[in-house]
């Protein structure tokens, strides 16, 4: 059942032992939102734990500094920034599916698996929602909370560059900066720093860029061999997803990454009214209007071809409109 922000606040206020879940392959928004909410609830005297089925990447570890979660039986399980129970990760899915009392999310593709869902598909990040929620709960935005949320706000908007960025995004960013978020270092770490190995991988990836449909679609393909040659690995590939769409005239940018089992993760980024989520949903994936993903099987050429077919359909529909 969809609920409003007041009821979301009430549900949290009325629980004492709260388990917050972040999605697998965690990013700045799921972890920033969960850690900020955890800090806020702890300040209200609750027992709180954040769980994620994957290890916390080192760039996000600052979010959990000084937090001591401990073990307890939760009376509320809340999923933060998780559109689908599949995204809990294999073990957590079996353990928590059907037991999630609350979900706070901004993915339009949310399958409404939780008892109560606060969903704002027009919000650029779940972190923006958490900011408003904390305001409603009269929680003081400490510098630590502000830094957690600022990380979510910036990482989910490409540092204000994606089309999901709104006036509210800028206003919340300004409020978080004022509350003491470590804006400079957060932006440096997530947007202005490249390891030498990533820089080498990026060059190889850019060399692989191919254009289709009169240059309206650009595809880069990152292979296992490129990891070997650059000294990089899969942990450094997130930022590659935006590169193809940056080329002037490109409406659909695709970054394919070869996984160790030979399958391909495709990240699709679009401009304007072209629906990345529609393209990926037809291939078993999902996401947002401007940014979505899916997994493809078969040879590299088969994977590219199946994607190109769906992209062509979407570009044609857009051009006819």
């Amino acid at each position: 059942m969809r609920i409003d922000l007041n009821e979301t606040a009430n549900i949290l206020e009325n629980a004492d032992n709260i388990l917050l879940l972040s999605h697998s392959h965690p990013d700045g928004d799921t972890l920033g939102s969960a850690s900020a909410l955890a800090r806020a609830l702890i300040s209200k005297g609750k027992r709180v734990r954040v769980e994620c089925s994957d290890p916390i990447p080192k760039d996000f570890s600052f979010m959990f500094e000084g937090l001591d979660f401990g073990d307890f039986e939760p009376d509320l399980i809340a999923a933060i920034d998780i559109a689908d129970t599949k995204l809990l990760g294999r073990d957590a899915e079996g353990k928590y599916s059907g037991k999630i009392g609350l979900c706070i999310d901004h993915h339009g593709s949310n399958i409404l698996y939780a008892d109560k869902v606060y969903l704002e598909p027009d919000s650029a990040s779940t972190a923006e929602i958490i900011y408003l929620l904390l305001q409603k709960m009269n929680v003081e935005i400490t510098p630590q909370i502000a830094s957690c949320l600022f990380t979510g706000v910036t990482t989910d908007t490409g540092c204000f560059r994606f089309s999901n960025t709104t006036v509210r995004t800028f206003e919340i960013a300004a409020a978080l900066a004022k509350a003491g978020a470590d804006t400079y270092n957060i932006i440096q770490v997530f947007f202005e720093t490249k390891t030498k190995t990533y820089a080498a991988l990026e060059r190889l990836a850019l060399d692989s860029m191919r254009f289709y449909f009169s240059d309206r679609c650009a595809v880069i393909c990152v292979t296992q061999d490129m990891y070997k040659r650059s000294g990089s690995d899969e942990s450094e590939t997130d930022r590659l997803a935006n590169l193809p769409r940056q080329i002037e005239g490109v409406l659909v940018g695709v970054t394919m990454r070869e996984l160790k089992d030979g399958s391909f993760k495709a990240s699709v980024r679009t401009h304007g009214d072209i629906d990345a989520s529609a393209i990926c949903q037809r291939l078993g994936g999902g996401g947002h209007m401007g940014a979505a993903g899916c997994t493809l099987y078969g040879s590299k050429q088969q994977a590219v071809n199946s994607l190109l077919k769906e992209i062509q359909a979407e570009i044609d529909a857009y051009t006819i409109d």
Copy 2:
């Protein structure tokens, strides 16, 4: 004489025919600030003209849409975002030196050549100052003015990524977004769009990257030959300046560009307490703490060596501190 913002507003209010000057090789801040101020003064019934010794690049032409400057004898000449009369460009320097009644600027290296100077060296951009000035003058921030200023705010901060970005920067950005600045398209044009020729040039430039001083300094060198091979030209090189400093561990990033006469323009970008302006001033250039530039003569190797000598001195001083 240094003046405050109130007196700056008074000087402008008391003039009727105002010439605003932007610096040569104009950027988003000098043009965004001058065009926004021009629109504001016109709304107050003044006759205003903006002059720049170089043509307005097409990405900035939106700032002047609908403005009809006309010819008149100014009773006030105001330099906007111009640290030194040298930066007026050759003809304008001869024409206006000694006649500039007001300068509004944020460069700490400003040589105080104007009769009255409003200088805020801690402001990330002159556009931030103009925003505060227009507030003081009770000028309505129209969507057009907001877009001009938002361009200055973002281009001078690398879209909020540089260390000059402050809480006030975020607050003014939010206010400009709320006033109707076309934030998405401005950011797309200046930060998220690469021509195919620029993308090709960037790859060649990155291939040229060399490291010095235990990887604390990275230097890329863009040659005339690279323009030929990529189909690009000097107009597309501004963004290259930030690339070397992005590599993890690099404290000083340098981008050298070979000019047609064989000399080299060097853009120096630093992290932390390393003073780019000090490095460049010793070589006849100038700028800010984190971003400065100079022109070097001699062979490529001589140019690199003279820069490296100054950089080493600065890194050594920093490391000893």
